[in-house]
Symmetry: C2
Subunit: 307 residues, 2 copies
């Protein structure tokens, strides 16, 4: 059961020859969630061998060009590929106003519907749920209304111990009840300890995407104990003032959020093009939160299924 | 004095890992003319080390996404780079209607003006001229109004022979007159043969861009004797019917146009993604017009200054 994020673009506004603007794909058990869609996202999806037909939900953090300019090209290509499945886009309500005329002009023979879901940029809100995962949006602190996204696997039911099936003569109906957490009794009406019957399920894995944002501890309760945190780190300490002015974060501030949130791992991206060498950003982050890493386009960050 | 075209993207609508959608830059004596602007054009400009500040004129053949989706990102980046110079875009009049709201929303602090020039898609028209080059648009045959572009150096004045300056005691005023083609007389009022005084200037070089279009001999008079012809070749002979249906060309049809126009060299692009191996298209073109070539992204096709 995969839970991994592929980095399609990791630069800030100005793309470089090495880094595309922001886009990522989270793979949760072969459900592919696209997060942000900078220019060239469809090219990067191809380069990273991610099938277009697997993408049904797109989450857009905010309406700055480097996070959205790839949308119209992707939608157009979906059309050329004969897509018929609904496409869901979660974004600030202005996106629909901006994108609809483009879709109507350039993609007038689409055989699928694009459904826009308007984000609540004021407070956290669960915006998506299926059998295996939930997605919660939460406000970030940027120059325009911006949301982060918290993806979390649903708690799975416990697994029945094989040996318990014969020992206690369990039928299908018993198994369903036990997996649902109902008590089970033996023939003498004595309750059997759940640990005799079941193996606890793996802990749900979680991923948080936080870009673009200034230092914003208000989000910590939402992403508490997250397994993998992606946080923007546009600037190094030496440009702290610029970070504040443009409501971006330094690598150190990103690390502070990871520490406060008790994240297990921090990955950093959205780097300013001014840094040829990013090792300084990594060092500054690791002084606060040792388990920090810089991302590159094409990276796959996997969270193994745990217990 | 450079006259060369750099291929930034050479695929048809569906981009691949090897080919971006359509975009080219023509360099005429360090004037850089961008022709079409598919998604990722700004990334390809960077990869090909073409300075953004050198681009002041953009020519858009038609309003299909694979020829225009890169515009908003490029304009946005111009803004981030602090551009102040006017940007001129030559395109079907609908482009302004589509692009203005995006510019207003995403690039609201631009320090430069974007000037839209509406193409005449019914007949050939000179749309640009400066000291060294003219650009003429002309109708192509496609599903939406589409123009090709013919770039031609202006005829240069002849060069004065060094030996003639002392032999005939030429002053600045004489030289200006002679270069302007006025007759020059010696002290005995006898006209000196122009060949005694001047070396003929190099022939003006020319480039024609024809994409997207079905087979369209109507354009031949406009591009007659062109030095370098780029013509779309979306399909091979075996898909001739599909070419007709979608108003695209086969490689053979492109070669026929090159032959009829007495072009010196033909370069082919805008290939359908269905062909893994394009050698068949090249063979079919060369049967009609031997001096045919397939382009790749990153190619620079240079026309040397001749006599």
């Amino acid at each position: 059961m995969t839970f991994s994020v592929t980095i399609l673009g990791s630069n800030s506004a100005l793309p470089t020859t090495k880094r595309y603007p922001t886009a990522q794909v989270l793979n949760v058990s072969e459900r592919f969630f696209l997060i942000d869609c900078g220019e060239g996202t469809q090219l990067q999806l191809r380069s990273n061998k991610i099938r277009f037909s697997k993408i049904n939900n797109i989450f857009i953090s905010h309406l700055h060009g480097d996070h959205v300019f790839g949308l119209i090209g992707l939608i157009s290509t979906f059309g050329l590929l004969g897509r018929t499945k609904e496409l869901h886009i979660y974004a600030h309500h202005d996106l629909e106003k901006i994108l609809r005329p483009q879709i109507d002009y350039f993609c007038n023979d689409l055989k699928f519907t694009t459904v826009f879901h308007h984000l609540n940029t004021k407070e956290p809100e669960q915006i998506y749920a299926d059998k295996v995962v939930t997605v919660t949006s939460f406000p970030l602190k940027h120059r325009v209304p911006t949301c982060g996204f918290f993806f979390r696997e649903k708690q799975k039911a416990p697994n029945i111990r094989k040996e318990a099936i014969s020992k206690y003569n369990l039928g299908i109906a018993d198994i369903v009840k036990i997996k649902n957490g109902e008590p089970h009794f033996d023939e003498n009406e004595i309750q059997i300890a759940p640990s005799e019957l079941t193996i606890p399920p793996p802990s749900p894995r979680s991923y948080a995407f936080c870009s673009d944002t200034g230092y914003n501890p208000a989000m910590v309760p939402v992403i508490k104990n997250v397994d993998l945190l992606y946080h923007e780190a546009t600037f190094a300490d030496e440009h702290k003032d610029l970070a504040k002015k443009t409501t971006h974060s330094t690598a150190r501030q990103a690390a502070s959020i990871a520490k406060e949130a008790n994240a297990k791992k921090l990955i950093l991206g959205h780097f300013s093009s001014r840094y040829d060498d990013l090792s300084g950003l990594l060092e500054e982050a690791r002084e606060v939160f040792p388990n920090s890493y810089l991302v590159n386009d094409g990276d796959v960050w996997d969270i193994a299924a745990g217990r």
